[in-house]
Amino acid sequence: MSAPTLADEAAEALAAGTTVAELRADKRVRRRRATLPYLLLAPGIAWLVVFFIVPMWSIVSTSVETGDMDTGFVLSWRWANFGDVWSQWHQQIIRSLEYSVMCTVFCLILALPLAYFIAFKAGRWKNLLMALVVAPFFTSYLIRTLAWKTILADDGWVVHTMNTLHITPLLSGMGWTYSDNSVLQTPFSVVCGMVYNFLPFTVLPIYTAMEKIDPRLHEAGQDLYASAWATFRKVTFPLALPGIVGGTLLTFIPAVGDYTNAVMLGGPKTKVIGTVIEQQMIGTGGNIPYGAALSVLLMVGTLVITLAYIKRAGTEEIV
């Protein structure tokens, strides 16, 4: 649309009962108001685009390079990198997926009653209890994870009790531990640490969803012959489902890439893909394009699942 002529402006001003000057000022203000949101959004979103979205391209291009830090990198479009990493580390990839699934399942089992209790039974202690769920967060998670080494120590009280109750032989029978009287450096201790670290991520979205449920719906359920368990299955669970799905997502995906638990609480037999990526990207003798290729695999998987979720859930409630 070309700029209006003075004659047009005059006609408009006449019709509106004001002067051309006032009309121009009015339009300036409205334009400023309309651009305000974009001005507010720009810096932050630009930061995210440059330092989160753009790097996705960087890693893809790095994943098809050849070379190393000394000789430099060349973009040789070596798609074989992907084949290489799969054949070399598919066991670790699958292991990471297994651990994440176990972690997510147990996180859900623990998060549901906890969120339920705080949302419906805690009354005015709600906020305080949620703060307590999140508070451990605020102290270094590496130190806290290390505490599990003390808790699950071979000669510690916990493992003693597990031995007495014959739980440890059971676990090793199922392949979760490697001996009948110790649990450290096993899948069991790794998943234990993961559950501990990721539980708040599961609880928060589920709690948010449950908090919105009208407690009178529970009363209606009970009034209509549903026992407490039936009310949960038929009323609470379906209504909290969006939060449960969100919580599952926010637990599973980050867990797939996690390696701190596997290293600190695990051993050589529990190596996960995150550890491999760490070693390849910044370890000595690492192959950066290989590390990048593995990252790309992880990233693509993440994007596919997350974008599917966003499509299904809509974008309004997710942030």
Binding site: F52, T62, R124, F138, R144, M299, T315
Partner: protein, 268 residues
């Protein structure tokens, strides 16, 4: 029979209590082990009580540099992320604009992504664009700001949503300009949310490890220092720092929640 009934009635509470126990026990272990005097390098087994670590929390200065670096980065990252995130939150809640879906997705993805992917992608970007010498304080700071923004947005957004939009309209009805309305009505009401967001951002940044490891180059933050020390042996001083962090956090919660709790008790 009465005992069984009591159990049935309070089943959920009992289960919840056990889960809380599960969540909080490691914290107690951290504090407990800070009073330990290990005979070797590893502080995993309780040996004897000692206040040595508390009297020498920086372990003869070894912990000084990593802690300072973590603090500096956390403070700066918090400052920037809080400002950027608050602006975004206001735009989302109070204004209409095109591209909401895009904005929401861009904000959600960093929360759902594995940290290692965020770390390696940034590392790739920095290596390709600037070379390996760029890695250090600057690169860590950039990364931290990036992943904190989303959390700030959520926190401020939720506070803003809880605020009656009619309050701003009422202020304007009473002759307040938009500028005055913002500073005299909106800001005071949103401030606790912004404060909480800043706190969250600080904690996320101070505590971050994986992304930091990827983008740190040769710099060492506090969590990175711990990671490197896992094999060599972690001194109880680390537990002291952890305990201090816990105490500060709990104190913060108490300060925030107790006045509210007292108010509601009196009102009953």
């Amino acid at each position: 029979m009465a005992v069984v009934n009591w159990f049935r009635k309070h089943l959920i509470a009992i289960v919840a209590f056990l889960i809380f126990f599960f969540l909080l026990v490691p914290n107690f272990v951290v504090v407990w082990m800070s009073f330990n005097k290990p005979s070797g390098k590893y502080n995993v087994k309780w040996e004897k009580f000692s206040l040595d670590a508390w009297k020498n929390p920086l372990d003869d200065g070894i912990l000084h540099d990593p802690l300072m670096l973590s603090l500096e980065i956390a403070l700066l990252a918090t400052l920037v992320a809080t400002i950027l995130g608050t602006m975004i939150a206001f735009a989302i809640v109070r204004h209409s604009f095109k591209g909401r879906g895009f904005v929401n997705s861009v904000l959600f993805l960093p929360m759902a992504a594995p940290e290692i992917v965020m770390g390696t992608t940034l590392l790739a970007l920095f290596l390709n664009t600037f070379g390996v010498d760029f890695l250090g304080f600057k690169s860590i700071l950039i990364a931290h700001i990036m992943f904190c923004v989303s959390y700030v947005v959520i926190t401020v957004k939720s506070r803003l949503n809880g605020m009656d939009p009619m309050l701003e309209k009422a202020a304007q009805d009473l002759y307040a300009t938009p500028w005055q309305t913002f500073w005299r009505v909106t800001f005071p009401l949103v401030a606790p949310g912004i404060g909480a967001a800043a706190l969250l951002s600080f904690a996320l940044s101070f505590d971050d490890f994986i992304i930091t490891e990827m983008t740190a180059g040769n710099s060492v933050t506090f969590p990175y220092w711990i990671w490197n020390a896992v094999q060599k042996g972690i001194p109880p001083q680390v537990n002291v720092i952890g305990s201090l962090m816990l105490i500060i956090t709990l104190a913060g919660i108490a300060v925030a929640e107790v006045p509210k709790w007292l108010k509601t008790s009196k009102a009953r």
